[in-house]
Symmetry: C2
Subunit: 658 residues, 2 copies
Amino acid sequence: VDASSLRLYRWYYSRICQWGLGLTIAVVLLLAFIERPSSLSVSSDPRHRSPTWEPPCGLTESIEMVCLIIFCLDLAVKSYLIGWEEFRKNKWLIAYTVVISISVIDWVLSVSMVCDEKLRVRRLLRPFFLLQNSSLMKKTLKCIKRTLPEIASVILLLALHLCLFTMIGMLLFAKTEDPKKNGEWELHFRNLPNSLTSLLVLLTTANNPDVMIPAYSLNRGYSIFFVAFSVIGTYCLMNLLTAIIYNQFRGYLLMSVQTSIIRRRLGIRAAFQVLTCHGAQQAAEEHVCVDAVLEVMSRVQMKSYYRVAITTEARQYADVGYMDREQFRKIFDQLDKDHIKEHPPLPQYNSPVLQRLQVIFSHYYLTILGNAVALANVMCICTVLVLNSEKSTSERDNYIMEIINLCFILYYLFEMSVKIFAFGWKGYLSYRNNIFDGFLTILLLILQITIYVAYRLPYSHWDPSAHGFLSLWEMVRLINMLIVFRFLRIIPDIKLMALVASTLLDLVKNLRAFAGILVVVYYVFAVFGIWLFEGAIKPPPEMSVLSNTTMDNITSNFSMECGTYEQLGYWPNNFDDFAAAIILLYDVMIVNNWQAFMDAYSRYTTDWSKIYFVCWWLTSSVMWVNLFVALILENFIYKWDRSHSCSVTDVERIRYET
Amino acid sequence: VDASSLRLYRWYYSRICQWGLGLTIAVVLLLAFIERPSSLSVSSDPRHRSPTWEPPCGLTESIEMVCLIIFCLDLAVKSYLIGWEEFRKNKWLIAYTVVISISVIDWVLSVSMVCDEKLRVRRLLRPFFLLQNSSLMKKTLKCIKRTLPEIASVILLLALHLCLFTMIGMLLFAKTEDPKKNGEWELHFRNLPNSLTSLLVLLTTANNPDVMIPAYSLNRGYSIFFVAFSVIGTYCLMNLLTAIIYNQFRGYLLMSVQTSIIRRRLGIRAAFQVLTCHGAQQAAEEHVCVDAVLEVMSRVQMKSYYRVAITTEARQYADVGYMDREQFRKIFDQLDKDHIKEHPPLPQYNSPVLQRLQVIFSHYYLTILGNAVALANVMCICTVLVLNSEKSTSERDNYIMEIINLCFILYYLFEMSVKIFAFGWKGYLSYRNNIFDGFLTILLLILQITIYVAYRLPYSHWDPSAHGFLSLWEMVRLINMLIVFRFLRIIPDIKLMALVASTLLDLVKNLRAFAGILVVVYYVFAVFGIWLFEGAIKPPPEMSVLSNTTMDNITSNFSMECGTYEQLGYWPNNFDDFAAAIILLYDVMIVNNWQAFMDAYSRYTTDWSKIYFVCWWLTSSVMWVNLFVALILENFIYKWDRSHSCSVTDVERIRYET
C-alpha cells in the first residue's frame, strides 16, 4: 500500500466520484426512454399517436460511448485497487469486464449498421451496471439465491396442483351431447392449453367468478372444484411462498446492523494499531497519543456532531497524553448514540406584549387550529367539487372558489409568519413539518399572485376559457390540489398514524436494494418485450382512416367480444416504446385482468407469447411482491422489537398464558 | 367438590358428551341450508331454477327447538359446575344465556306467526354457539381484539389516502369543454361516490388497468397518479396490515405450547398432592405409593402407548414402594416424547424363493416403479383427453381407454398384493401411503367390475349413450379422475415437496380456530345478506317467458354493457338462498370483479348496499386473509425453528456476516 494508491483509493471512494458513477449508470439506464422507439410522445395509444421525435442516429450512441468509457475507467481503477490476484477470484468483476466488452462490440456493430439493427443486446445488459455497483443488491441477490430451492419446491407443488386440477377439470367439463351444457367446455376447457391457461389465471384470481359461471349456473356442485382449486393454490401454496421467502429474510436487518457494528470494531482496532505505530512505542503495553487522535479526528470526514462528541471524549485524556486500547474503543461508542436534534431556543423579546404573544403563538393549540383550518379548507374544496362535478368548465363559478381559497391562504400566511415570530427563523425551520407547510404556503401565494397578475380580480366574471399560459380554471385546480396535499400535515399530529407513517418512511430507506432489483427486472423484461412484440398489435384499420369525431360511433358499432383487449380499449398498453412497456408490465404485475394482455398477444403473435407473460408474472408478482411483503414484515417487526423493550415482551407473554 | 359433581364434571367433559354438543351446534348451523329460502335446488340461477322443495312449517323449527333445549341443558350444567360466583364474572356465559333466551323468544314468535316472518334474528345469533364452545376461538378473538387499535390506525391512514387521492383525482379528471377528453370523468370520476368507489376498487386492484385507460390513452402522465395510488395503498399500506397482524400472532404457537406444558405441570403437581393424601402420610417428606399410581394409571383415559410408557416407568419404583415429587414428575416426561410409529416386522417366509421374492418386493425401487407406472397412466389419460377434447361423447372411443385403464388397474392390483405379501397385512396398513393407494385401487376395481356387469366387454362398440345408472362415459370419467387423484402418491417420495406438503397438513390442524371464525363471519354475513337482498335481482323477463332453446339468441341480442353483472351472466350469484349467498361472499372475498356485484346490487336496490359489500370486503379480504397469512407464516416459521436446531441458526448467522 503506497501513498499514491491510497490517494487513488480515497479519491475513488470519495462522495463525488461515487455520485458521478451513479449518475452515469442512471444516464445509461434512462437512455432507453429516448432511444428508438422513443417514448417522447404524449400518448402511447396507437390510435391517436402523433409521430414521435426520434433521436438522430449517433446521439444516443455517443452518450452511451461516453458512459461506457467511464465504466471502463471504473473497472480499471477497481481492478488496480483490488489487485490481480483478487480480481481473478471476483466473479462480479469478471462479469463486469465481459459485459463492458460485449457492450462495446455491440456498439461498434450498431454504429456500423447506421442504427438500423433490430436487437441491441447491450440494452439487455445495461441493468448489470446497476447491480454491479451496489453491494446491498448483491447481498440481496445472494439471499434470494439461497431461497431458490425451497421456492422451487413450492412452485413444483403448484405446477403439480395445476396439472392435476387441469386434468380433473377437463374430465369434469368434457364436451357432452347437450349443447346447452357445453358452456364451460366451450369457454374455458376446450383443449389442454386453454384449460391450463384458465386455471393458471384462476390461480392469480384474475378470472375468478367468470371461469366458474357457466358450470355453476348449471349445478351448484361444480363450484366446489373451483373453490378447492383457489383455496389450495391461491391461499395455501401462494402464501406458503411468502412464508418461505420471509423466513429467509427474517433477521436480515438485525444481521446487517450486527455486521456493520463488527466491521466498525475491526476498523477501530486497526486504527488503534496504525496510530500506535505513529506514536512512540515507549512501553510494552500499546498506547495511542491523544494529540495524534485529535489530529486524525480533525481531518476525517464524518458528521459534525459525531466529530464534536468524539473530540470531547478524547480531550478527557489530554492531560495523561495517551490512552490504551480499551479507552480508545470507548470514545468511539459515541457513534452508537443517535444524534437527538435539538431545536434552537425561542428568541427573547423584551416587550411584555411581545412575550405574551410569543407564549400564545408557540402554544400547541395553534397547530391544532391550523389543522382545523386546513380541514375546513379541504371540506370547502370538496363541497365545491361535489357541486361542480356535473358542470362544464364555463359553467363553474371559479370566482367564489378563488375568494375562499384566498382567505385560507392568507390565514396560512398569517400562521406561518406568527410561527416564525414565535420560534424565530431557525426554530421554525428546525421542524420538518414547518418546512413542508411553509414551502406549500409560499407556492400557493406565488400562484395566487400569478392569477391576479394574469386575470385581475376586479372583473368579477372574467372569461374562464381565456388562456394565459394556463387557463384560470387550471390554476385554481392546481391551487386546490396543493391545498389538499398540504392537508397531509395532520399525520404527525395523530399518534398512531405517525407510527405507521414513520414505519413506511423507514421502509423507503431500506427499500433501495429491492427497488434496484425491481428496476433491473423491469428493464430486462421491457427491453425483451419491445424486441419481441414491438408493433405486434395494430389498431383497427377504420380508426386510423376516419376522423376522430366519428370514433365513438365506430367503437360502439365495431362488434367486439366483452372482456377482450380490444373491447376494453387497452390500446395504449403495448410494447411500442419503453415507457408504454413499463406500464404494461406494471399492469401485469398488479395481476388483475392480465389474461386480456396474454390473450391479445397470443392472438396477434403466437401462442408462445404466453410464456413471456407467465415468466413475468412469476418474476414480478410471485417473486418480487413476496420479497416486498417479506421486507415490510421484517422492517415492521424490527422496528417493533426495538421500540418495545424486553420487559414489555415479557408482559405480553404473561398475558398470553392467563 | 362432592362426588356427584365430580361425576357430572367427568360425564360433561367426556368425549361423547362434547361430541354430542358439537353435533348439535353443527345441526343448528346446517339448518340454514334447509330453512326457507332453502338451498336444495340443483342450480341457483334464477333463469332456470326449478321450484325448490321448501320444508313444511314446523320441521326446521322443531329441530331447532331440540337443539335449543340441548343448549339450555349445556348452560345449566356449565353454570352448575362453575358455580354462581364465577358465572356472574364470566361474560361468555352471560352472553350465552342472553343468546339462548333471545333465540327462544324469537322461536316462539316465529311459530306463532306460522313461519311467515321476514327476519329471523336467531339465525344471526346462531354462530355464537360455535364461538362459545371453543376456547381456542375465544383466545384468537382476544388476540384480534388486542390488534384492533393498530389495525384501526392503518385503516384510518388508508381512508385518508383514499380521500386525498379521490379529491386530487376529481380535480385532475374534472369535466372539460372538449368532450373527447371527458372519458375518465364520465366513467370513473363523475361525482364523489363514483370517484370514491373507483378508487376503493382500485385499492383492491380489481379494476386495475380499466380505471386508468381513458386518461392514460390521452396522456402517459396520468398513469403516475394511478401507479402512485396503487403502490402506496395496495402495496405499502395493505401489506403493513399483514405485518401488524402477523406481529401480533408471532409466537402464538410457541406460547400455546408453553401454556399447555405449564398447565400439565400444574396438573401433575395437583395429582401428586391428591395421591399423597390417599397414601399414608407416614413421613415428613411427601411420598406417593407406586401402587396407587399404577391403579390410577390403569383407570385414566389416555393414549395406550403413553399409558404403557408411564406404567413401565412407574414399575421401576415398585420395589421401593413409593416415590417422591421429583420422581413422580419425571415419569410423566414420557408424555413429551413423541410416539414414533413402529412398523410391524416383515413376515417370515420359510421357502428361499419366497424370501427372495420378499426382498425384491419390499425394495424401494418397486415404489419408484409404481410411481412411474402411475405417471404413465396419467400421461395416457392426458393424451386421450387432448385427442378427444373436441369430439362429442358419441364420437369418443371409450373402448381403448377402457382397455388401457384395465391394464393399469391390474398392475395396481398386482403392486398392492405383492406389497401385502412382502410387508404382511399389518405392515402394509401401517404406511398411510399404502392405505391411500389401496383404497383407491379397490375403488377402481369395483368400478371396473361394475362397468363389465353393466356393459359387458365382448361387444367392442357398444352404445356409449346407453344409460345405466351412470352412462359408460361417466364411469370411465370417474375412473380417470380417481387415477389422476391416485397420482398424488408421488408427493411423499419427493423430499422437498414432502416438507412443503407436511407444512400444509400441519397448517390444517392449527387452522380450526381460524376456520371457525371464518364460518362465523360467513354465516352472519350470509344471513344478513339474505335478509337484505333476497330476490332483489330479477332475471330479464324475456328469459323466463321464452323457452330455453332460444335463450342463446336472446342473450346475444339483449344489449348489455360489457363488464356488468348481466353481461357476465352472474345470475347464479345472488342472495336468494344460503348456499348461493355463501358462494357470492366467497367471490367477493377473492376480490376479483367484486365491483360487478357491488354495482349490480346498488342498481337493483339502493346505493347504500355498497356499504354491505365494503364491510364484507374489510372483514373477509382485509382481516381474515391477513389473519390466514399470519397463521401460515407463524406455522411455517415455528416448524422451521423446531426442525433446525440452534446450531444451524448460528451457522446461518455466520454465513450472513461474511
